[in-house]
């Protein structure tokens, strides 16, 4: 079966490539951002679009002044205060250049806890799987701990993978990717192959003092 769940190494590679693309491919990042934002506070089943339009001006906590382009009311983001997680809840595609500082802070965090940059910077092609696996354990253990401590990641869909799902008219196209034989219009019936991920909160370290975001790992000199 081609849709079998990927193994650990395959997932690691997927995670890394996605991460790197988010960092360096602004268009891709914008799509991921839309995906995240659109998934909003709505739970498993995407709500019908008739819901009372929320005052987007209230919802938008993005500092950048993106014009209120899409008037699409589908993303009913609850305006209730989410404690202490000041993550961007904006539904607007980012027009301004993304601020690299936060991405660099995350990169530094993963390097510090899990030698992430070391791992990606090295050409691993010539090493046997055992060596790559040993290194992957260091990366996985450290980055997983860092991710759990700094982000709240939940599946987008609550149904079990490989179970049958139905997508009604008005489903959230950003939160669901259709594959296979896609018919002319919903409802779509199919099998949930991947439940998706949503980052519900990201808490990054705050910079103080002479912080230099570009230094993701200082050199080490032993005395």
């Amino acid at each position: 079966m081609s849709d079998a769940q990927p193994g650990f190494l395959a997932r690691l590679v997927l995670a890394i490539t996605t991460f790197v693309r988010v960092l360096f491919d602004a268009a891709f990042a914008a799509r991921v951002q839309r995906l995240n934002a659109a998934a909003g506070g709505s739970s498993a089943d995407a709500p019908a679009p008739q819901a009372a339009p929320v005052n987007t001006a209230l919802v938008n906590t993005e500092p950048a002044k993106a014009e209120p382009a899409s008037a699409e009311p589908a993303k009913a983001e609850p305006a209730s205060a989410e404690p202490a997680s000041a993550e961007p809840a904006s539904a607007e595609p980012a027009k301004a250049e993304p601020d690299p500082a936060a991405a660099l802070a995350l990169l530094a965090l993963f390097q510090r806890e899990g030698r992430f940059v070391d791992f990606l910077q090295q050409d691993v092609a010539s090493f046997p799987d055992a060596d790559v696996g040993a290194a992957a354990r260091v990366v996985h253990e450290g980055c997983r701990k860092a991710l759990r401590a700094h982000a709240t990641i939940t599946p987008l869909r609550s149904e079990a993978e490989e179970s049958r799902v139905t997508l009604e008219e008005g489903y959230d196209a950003a939160a669901v990717k259709l594959t296979g034989k896609v018919g002319p219009r919903p409802p779509y019936r199919g099998v949930l192959r991947h439940a998706g991920w949503r980052v519900a909160g990201l808490r990054l370290p705050r910079a103080v003092g002479g912080y230099d975001a570009e230094i993701v790992a200082p050199a080490e000199v032993e005395l």
Binding site: R115, P205, D212
Partner: protein, 600 residues
């Protein structure tokens, strides 16, 4: 409406600190843990529930280590300091709390870091504790800002090990005062753990505790283990709690277990021909801790991998791979630290060699169950029972080590076997709250209890205290003059109580003189002024010697002045001993004999 009032609870731990607060008004109130902003690198700040009890003294080029509330700070407390401890031990203060009760060190002098090279700044254990408290206060104030009063305006409950002696308690108060805490009271950690349990159990606690119950609190943290027994007294409708016994101060905890595991793996690697340097060893200690936690958390795993990576920027290739098996964990942690021994087992006492390196007096026997057996055996008579050991009916676990189900189960099973042999029923487990944060929460709860909300644990002083008086005897070379111990503070003396000692004593003024103090956690029936000619060392231990100069104030230096001693248990929870001259030169003349003063 007046602004809300809060009580603050602070757990000043050997390896971690935590802070909680609770509203003082209202019928129902719940404690809330205040997370602490701290540096995680030299320039990045994070908010975490625990503050690592480490202090980093950076070289000048790395200063300042700015904080939102102090851009010019010259040192770091917390996560960053802990990370630096493995990398540059000579620049990081650790385990300051254990130094506070060191028997011979001058705890006000610059001692730490012990490994500091010459010319590098050192600070005193008292200052380190003060810095941790200062950081907690500043982080609290920065955090609550408008939602509550500043910490200095709140009553603060600061916890200490039940086994802390009088001088360590006084030094803790000194550190708190230096940090700016004014309204302060000390609370024993195991009692705080029980207050946290009572808060969590709510009204339901009456269905779990009844008169006649004896709660054994087993608190094993990162650096120390601490035992206390608390009896439930009174009638069903008016329950009381009384702390009836505390254990000795034992420097033994989770960090010892991680080290033991790392050494176990290191030896196995050495047998395979792989030697580790200091950096790799530090990585191995970290790896062993992670593997330990994984195996403890998932009983289905047979082993967990440990990888010691290469150090340079090339990660892949050249890593040292090994693993920690469940059997290894049983051998090293369970059988090493929690051996299945009989109730008659006692910790081995290693004879001290004449030449020892200056350091902490770590427990010489790692068997926590042996220490526990010794505690229960020594306290067999605490409730007047006739068994060979004190019979607890309930057990409350606390401390990070006790998060492991395997460890709890081993302790429970061992204890139950002792109780069965001694003819008592097995003990029930009281299921506690978060074992890392319970002490801080419970301390905050105690702030409410003091205002009349809930049951207060009574106990008073955990030790009887004695002063040594040398008898007048002709000098004989090689033979010490006979020493009589006069009880100055009986066991269980309550806060606020004051006792005048009925004994004729004399002190020399204007010169450096020394006092010898003694403590006993088992002699419950010696009354104030009781004079003991014989004092078995297994019942009475000598406290650090106190050296002071009592001011002459109008008398000739070296004059021998007849005095009466007065002992007071202060409201804060420390023991105050004063010498009151029989013929005062001015009204209310008295000299304070500070138990924490001593020669370095």
């Amino acid at each position: 409406m007046s602004s809300p009032r809060f009580a603050i609870g602070i757990d000043l731990g050997t390896t971690h600190c935590a802070l909680a607060r609770i509203p003082l008004d209202g019928v129902a109130a719940h404690s809330e843990v205040i997370e602490i902003d701290q540096l995680v690198t030299s320039t990045e700040l994070e908010r975490q529930p625990l503050l690592a009890s480490f202090l980093y003294l950076p070289p000048e080029a790395e200063q300042p280590l700015g904080l939102p509330w102090d851009a010019e700070r010259g040192f770091a407390v917390g996560s960053h300091a802990r990370a630096r401890a493995a990398e540059t031990p000579g620049r990081v203060v650790a385990s300051a709390k254990s130094w506070l009760c060191h028997p011979t060190a001058d705890r006000r002098s610059g001692l730490l870091p012990l490994e500091a090279t010459d010319g590098v700044e050192r600070i005193s254990p008292v200052e380190a504790s003060w810095r941790y408290l200062e950081h907690l206060i500043e982080a609290h104030d920065a955090r609550v800002e408008s939602e509550g009063p500043r910490l200095a305006a709140c009553p603060v409950v600061l916890t200490v090990p039940a086994s802390f002696d009088a001088s360590a308690r006084e030094l803790t108060v000194e550190a708190a005062t230096a940090a700016g805490i004014e309204d302060l009271i000390l609370l024993e950690e195991p009692q705080a753990a029980l207050y946290a349990w009572l808060e969590q159990a709510g009204d339901g606690f009456r269905s779990q505790l009844a008169p006649g119950d004896v709660v054994l609190v087993i608190d094993v943290g990162g650096g120390t283990c601490d035992f206390s027994a608390i009896a439930v007294t009174g009638e069903d409708n008016a329950l009381g709690l009384e702390r009836i016994a505390v254990g000795d101060h034992i420097l033994l905890g989770g960090d010892n277990m991680d080290l033991a595991l790392a050494h176990f793996v290191k030896q196995r690697l050495a047998a395979e021909g792989t030697e580790l340097d200091a950096w790799q060893m530090a990585a191995l200690v970290h790896g062993a801790r992670v593997a330990k936690e994984r195996l403890f958390n998932d009983p289905t795993l047979a082993s967990a991998p440990i990888v010691i990576p290469r150090r340079g920027s090339k990660l892949v290739g050249g890593a040292i791979r090994t693993e920690l098996g469940k059997d290894d964990l049983r051998t090293v942690v369970l059988d090493g630290f929690f051996p299945e021994v009989g109730a008659e087992a006692r910790p081995a006492v290693r004879a001290r060699t004449a030449l020892t390196r200056f350091g902490l007096p770590y427990a010489s026997d790692a068997g926590i169950t042996r220490h526990l057996a010794a505690f229960l055996g020594r306290q067999a008579a605490a409730l007047g029972g006739s068994g060979k050991l004190l019979h607890p009916t309930c057990v409350l676990f606390n401390g990070g080590v006790m998060k492991s189900e395997l460890v709890r189960e081993r302790v429970r099973a061992t204890l139950d076997r002792w109780l069965e042999v001694d003819g008592a029923a097995p003990a029930r487990i009281l299921h506690g709250a978060d074992l890392d944060l319970a002490v801080a929460r419970g301390a905050a709860c105690f702030g409410r209890v003091r205002e009349g909300h809930g049951i207060r644990i009574r106990g008073g002083t955990a030790q009887a205290h004695y002063v040594g008086v040398e008898g007048a005897a002709p000098a004989v070379p090689g033979i010490e003059p006979p020493l009589t111990l006069v009880c100055v503070a009986p066991f269980g003396m309550q806060e606020g109580a004051s006792i005048d000692i009925d004994a004729e004593l004399a002190v020399v003024v204007g010169e450096r003189v020394s006092f010898r103090f003694f403590g006993s956690s088992v002699r419950r029936h010696d009354e104030a002024s009781a004079a003991l000619e014989r004092h078995p060392s297994d019942e009475i231990a000598e406290l650090p010697q106190v050296e002071v100069v009592l001011p002459a104030e109008g008398r000739a230096e070296g004059e021998v002045v007849p005095v009466r001693l007065r002992a007071t248990v202060t409201e804060i929870g420390t023991l105050l001993v004063e010498a009151v001259p029989l013929a005062p030169k001015k009204p209310d003349e008295r000299w304070k004999v500070e138990l924490s003063v001593r020669e370095g």
